[in-house]
Amino acid sequence: MKWITPFVVLLLGVAVILIPPPDRPEPGIVPGSVEPPVAICPTIQDASRSTNVPIVSNIAGMGQLTAFGGGESVASGPYETGSSGSTTLAISDFAAVGRIAALLEFPGPDSSAASITTGASSLSAEVCSRIPDRQVVLGAGSTIGGARFEVQLMNPYASEAVTEIIAFSESGREAADAFSSIIVPPRSSVIVDVANVLPGREFLTVVVETERGNVVASAHATVGTDEAVWRAVSPEPSWYLPLPVFTGARELVIATTSGADVAYQVDVYGPEGLEEAAIEGSVGNGSEVVDLTGLTAGALGVRVVAEAPVAVFARYSSEGGLGIGAASATAAPRWLLPGAGGITGRLAVMNVGLEAAEMTVIELRETSRSRVFTIQPNQVVEVEFDDVASDGVSIISDGELVPFWMGQQAAAVAVSGGLPIADE
């Protein structure tokens, strides 16, 4: 026994030194992020303008609209998508309280809503945003000639948000105290009047960076009697944008998040098919406007590829009309376009795949109508909406498509894209 104990002690000591320590218990695995089926829409309800919120979904079910502003829920109520999976809500049925915002809770994840605002001589349309991002870009702004340009920061959540706005104009980066540390209280929206701070700018790009909390941003512009509302998007290196026929000017606005020069290339999907690098250039001072009017009078599509992430917007303008909408960074076989077909107008769809695609366009309403089209690769097809108003349009295809629609009401014009539906 005399030497057994020291031997055991030595053995234990060596074992302690040699054996690695046990792994520390770790917390559980973080589940994949689930996007709640909601959307946040800018809304207006006043004497001259009223917002409708068309909702389209691939299922019929119950949802809820909550109008919020001033730190509280102004109004809230349920809705039901009919057998078509679609419905249109008038914000006036919920709250008659000026310019606020609404949170839409959908019956399912494959759902989308739009904010369609009509006035006596104005029309605007834009898909409501679903996921707030840390950094988003709003291009295509202008405050020259008395044009109004406002940014609406919407925070439907219970937490306060703090944002920073960085603005670029033809003069470069604009400094303004009013743009820094903007607090957006819970259940509120804050409207930043950019025209008031930066009047007389021909081209304005606004970058919204959220420092704390979550904020959805959209822009609101007024030129003459018409208005445009468009959503902010996250910068991406490539964008798709089909452009329906329009009698006025069709422009492409490429916006960056910094004043640095960013080279870009525009590939055009025209009547002659795809023309790569039809236009090349460089974005400086935050934005670059590319006039597409001269390319063709018919429908066309473009793909913008930049050497750094950018945001791309379509700008339709005419005498008494202004429509601005964000391009799409992805192509998908299925799309929901809330609000499309609710106003007279047309839809342009481009096939960016390598194969011909068969596309079913369903105008969603109580009695929906379906039409089937075949789109060749690199081709843009234009579809006229039915005379009967719809809540929106659903596109189902077997190819990689990108849609964009335009509506007109008298001289007023509105443009908007849609929501791509991921493959199941």
């Binding site: 000591g13 046990p22 520390r24 695995i29 994949g32």
Partner: protein, 920 residues
């Protein structure tokens, strides 16, 4: 002065007058060293009177006016006088000019030096002008050269020390040195005062292989004119120089740093006594020696040239510990005692007590514990991690006796038995649970120190290490990790385990005493140990077995069994929550690190190689320490196993430290063991010097006080506490998606809630809700949490997926209530108990009460059938009748019975202890 000294000094006859014997009597040369103010003539006269005939001549060192004296010559230095000595001379008698030897002093000196074949002998010194008051009888020193004679001040010579013996050092007042040795040593160091010179001379003589003896029969009166006031610092400097000259490099490597620290501590303690001189002296000592290093090295070279033995020969005559610290400690204790002790009886005892190394160790350990617990006295015991306040004793005792377990979302599974222990302590402290907890926690420090001292004392140790080792038990390799993570119970376990271990051993001197008393102690201590940390109860049993296996006879199986029976207190808890023992995912995952293991090996192995008489104790310590760490490394078992192993490892390390520091023996193996032990001890001291015995600061109940203060209906809602870092969550936590979480009582968490009982349906639903929230898929997480009574979500540390999700939801409101915690309020939270009519019922004891009414009351706790009246399952929660105005949990009869039986047995054990004491 006489002018006929030569004639007398050059007598050719032997001491007996027979010329035939003259060759046998050693011839002596006398060297008189000068002393300022001393009468040299008188000194020579006393030398002349010596009844010893073989004096060759007398040399007076210095420039004394002795030229006219026959047979008296003059030399410039002692060294010169020695080197001029003829080879026919056998010895040199070096005597101070202020010394007055009795006539037989030299004869006795020569006779004893010859008889003992010593190289150096010295006379007993009596103070001149007194009634034979003793001045010096030679002395031991400590390793730093501080003399320790054992003489009391003014002690009279009653021949009580009259035995010739070897000593570490002799005064140079009257020394007889063999001539050849004297030549080799080269005289006294004149740069230092006489005391230090004597030490230097004695040490060099011993290193040269000569015995150094004191000859009490040679009596010399000393006028002490050589002692200069204000030269104390130089004496100290001389001692340091003597060390530098004598010790080998390996010895100096550890002696010098320790000397530095000891001097510093001595200076500080003297400052407490309002004496600044020791500090100045300390500084001067080191500065003087630094400047004298060249001459010190020169003397060192010379000493080495004649060295024939190692430092071990010096160590043989040295006392353990520090004489200075012992003296100053005794004085401080004496002063404290004198406040109550007019006649100084205790003070005198205290001085004697402080000569015991064990007591010195105990005092040091107690001082360290006092410093280590200062924070508790000023700001209370921290609340957080695994340290929660006590409940009022009436509630905690009822909870222990089969009451409702309120941790998390509630459970019928019995609470951890520490709840009963805390209730008992609070009850004994007159119901003041806060004060009881503070005093108990401070008491843990002292209990560990005294417990280790008593344990190791029972096993045969007597040195300073046995008490100091208590610090290692408190903050050694295992407990340091536990207390660092806020495990209050580990402090308690470390404080109790030494006592529980001790209870299964009986010292041979105590054999045959009241057996029932010992059984009572073993059971009671086993009960307390098991209540605090059930599995540490294995340690006494294992300790007894290991001791027996090594051939020891002090351990008693029946006591180990009695101790093990104390585990009855934890049976209901362990059977209800087996995961606490078996579920490795509930462990904290401590990593003891290899440094501790290395130090433990360095400490343990030499103790076995040394063939130490304490190798059995070292065996227990080594197996406990390294076995505990080894099993911890394997990662087996639940948190209860983890805690017990780490505490046992610390107590094992403490045992090793106690053995290694028990007695300072100058052998390489024991020095290595002592160095390892010192490193462990210093590491442990470092852990607890924050003033909180290593517990993290903070008060989670204060941090979460808003939950109670902001309630609108008088009932605080629960708090869901989350963090990505487990150690930030108070108490036990559960893994969630990228987070650790647990539910806390909004009214403040208490000791019974540290451990979460096994999951029940409500806990599983809550876990699902948390996953849903963290995915970001819930727009209204408050609604999801409301049914659990969760009114608050508190997040700590770096942002988690839950924080991210809570930034994008609609019904949980962030509030800026804390600068570090992220606090969210859930206004939709249900009350913990609410009637059908929406009337909130309030807490009452372990249940709820409210207005009697028709219908039922919904209680947001996990359902079990034992809720009354008429408890039924409502999904996962409890619905009881509202008719009586009371809702309460009726504990399982087995758990209730076990609780009462364990309490009754504890009382019986206390009775046995009392009976045993009375019988003794």
């Amino acid at each position: 002065m006489t002018d006929s000294m030569t004639e007398d000094l050059h007598s050719e006859t032997g001491p007996d007058g027979d010329p035939a014997n003259a060759v046998l009597a050693p011839s002596i040369r006398v060297v008189v060293t000068p002393v300022e103010g001393a009468d040299v003539a008188a000194a020579l006269a006393s030398i002349k009177r010596q009844a010893y005939d073989h004096l060759t001549d007398v040399v007076v060192v210095g420039d004394g006016d002795v030229d006219d004296l026959e047979g008296v010559s003059v030399a410039a230095t002692v060294e010169e006088a020695i080197s001029d000595t003829e080879s026919s001379v056998d010895y040199v008698w070096i005597i101070h000019a202020d010394a007055r030897p009795r006539p037989d002093a030299l004869g006795a000196l020569v006779s004893e030096v010859e008889r003992h074949e010593a190289g150096l002998g010295a006379s007993k010194l009596l103070k001149a002008g007194t009634s034979d008051a003793l001045e010096s009888i030679g002395s031991a020193t400590d390793v730093f050269g501080e003399p320790y004679s054992g003489l009391d001040s003014g002690e009279v010579d009653l021949q009580q020390y009259d035995v010739v013996r070897e000593v570490a050092y002799v005064d140079p007042v009257s020394m007889l040195v063999r001539r050849d040795l004297a030549r080799g040593l080269g005289g006294l160091d004149t740069s230092v005062p006489p005391g230090a010179a004597g030490l230097d001379f004695s040490q060099r003589a011993r290193l040269a292989g000569s015995a150094v003896i004191i000859v009490p029969s040679s009596e010399v009166y000393h006028q002490a004119k050589c002692v200069r006031p204000g030269q104390g610092w130089k004496e100290r400097a001389g001692r340091l120089r003597a060390m530098l000259v004598a010790y080998r490099p390996m010895t100096l490597a550890w002696v010098l740093p320790v000397a530095f620290l000891v001097g510093l501590l001595d200076s500080i303690l003297n400052l407490l006594l309002l004496r600044w001189r020791p500090l100045a002296s300390y500084l001067a000592t080191w500065v003087w020696n630094i400047f004298r290093l060249p001459s010190t090295f020169s003397r060192r070279r010379r000493a080495n040239s004649i060295r024939s033995v190692g430092d071990e020969e010096l160590f043989r005559f040295q006392t353990a510990g520090s004489v200075r610290l012992r003296d100053v400690g005794g004085e401080i204790a004496g002063r404290l005692l004198s406040m109550f002790d007019d006649d100084q009886a205790l003070s005198q005892s205290a001085r004697r007590v402080f000569r015991s190394p064990g007591i010195v160790g105990a005092v040091l350990a107690v001082l360290i514990v006092l410093l280590a617990t200062r924070g508790f006295l000023f700001s209370g015991v921290p609340n957080g991690n695994f340290s929660f306040p006590f409940e009022p004793p009436s509630i905690s005792l009822r909870r222990f006796l089969g009451g409702w377990n309120e941790a998390g979302l509630g459970s019928p599974v019995p609470v951890h038995p520490i709840t009963g222990f805390s209730g008992l302590v609070a009850f004994l402290w007159f119901g003041a649970e806060g004060a009881a907890r503070t005093l108990l926690t401070v008491g843990f420090g002292f209990s560990a120190v005294v417990g280790m001292g008593r344990l190791l004392g029972r096993l045969g140790l007597r040195g300073p290490g046995r008490y100091l080792s208590g610090i290692v038990a408190l903050a050694g390799p295992g407990t340091a990790l536990l207390t660092g993570a806020g495990w209050w119970s580990s402090l308690a376990a470390a404080a109790v385990l030494p006592w529980a271990l001790r209870s299964v051993f009986i010292h041979p001197a105590e054999q045959g005493r009241s057996r029932l008393g010992y059984i009572g102690w073993a059971f009671a201590l086993g009960w307390i140990a098991a209540a605090i940390s059930p599995l540490i109860l294995l340690a006494p049993v294992l300790g007894a077995l290991i001791w027996s296996a090594q051939g020891g006879r002090r351990s008693k199986v029946e006591l180990a069994i009695a101790s093990g029976l104390g585990g009855l207190v934890a049976i209901s808890f362990l059977s209800g929550d087996t995961g606490w023992l078996t579920d490795a995912t509930r462990r904290t995952g401590f990593d003891p690190g290899i440094v501790w293991a290395g130090l433990l090996l360095v400490t343990a192995l030499p103790l076995f190689l040394d063939g130490s008489r304490h190798r059995r104790i070292a065996g227990i310590g080594g197996i406990f320490a390294l076995g505990g760490l080894f099993l911890t490394q394997l990662g087996l078992g639940g948190p209860g196993v983890e805690e017990a192993l780490l505490v046992i490892a610390s107590v094992g390390a403490a045992i090793l430290v106690g053995v290694a520091l028990d007695k300072f023996e100058r052998r390489v193996v024991t020095i290595i063991a002592a160095i390892g032990a010192l490193a462990i001890l210093l590491g442990s001291i470092g852990v607890i010097m924050d003033g909180r015995l290593g517990l993290p600061a903070g008060d989670v109940n204060e941090d979460l006080a808003f939950a109670a203060s902001l309630t609108e209906d008088g009932q605080a809602r629960r708090v869901l506490f989350i963090s990505g870092e487990r150690e930030r969550v108070p108490g036990e936590s559960r893994p969630g998606p990228g987070i650790w979480y647990r539910v806390l009582d909004g009214e403040g968490s208490t000791t019974d809630e540290i451990w979460l009982p096994p999951q029940r349906p409500g806990d599983r639903l809550l876990a699902d809700a948390i996953v849903d929230i963290s995915s970001g898929g819930l727009l209204r997480p408050g609604t999801a949490l409301a049914e659990f009574g969760i009114g608050w979500v508190v997040s700590s540390g770096p942002e988690t997926p839950i924080d991210e999700a809570l930034n994008s939801q609609l019904d949980i409101v962030p509030l800026p209530l804390d600068s570090e915690l992220r606090v969210y309020e859930n206004p939709a939270a249900s009350p913990l108990a609410v009637s059908d009519e929406g009337v909130v019922w309030t807490r009452s004891g372990l249940g709820f009460e409210g207005e009697p009414a028709e219908g039922s009351v919904l209680i947001a706790s996990n359902f079990t059938t034992s809720w009354e009246p008429d408890g039924v399952n409502d999904d996962w929660s409890i619905e009881v009748g509202a008719g009586t105005g009371r809702a309460f949990f009726d504990g399982h009869p087995v758990n209730v019975a076990l609780g009462y039986i364990s309490m009754i047995l504890l009382v019986l054990a206390a009775g046995l202890i009392g009976w045993g004491r009375a019988k003794r």
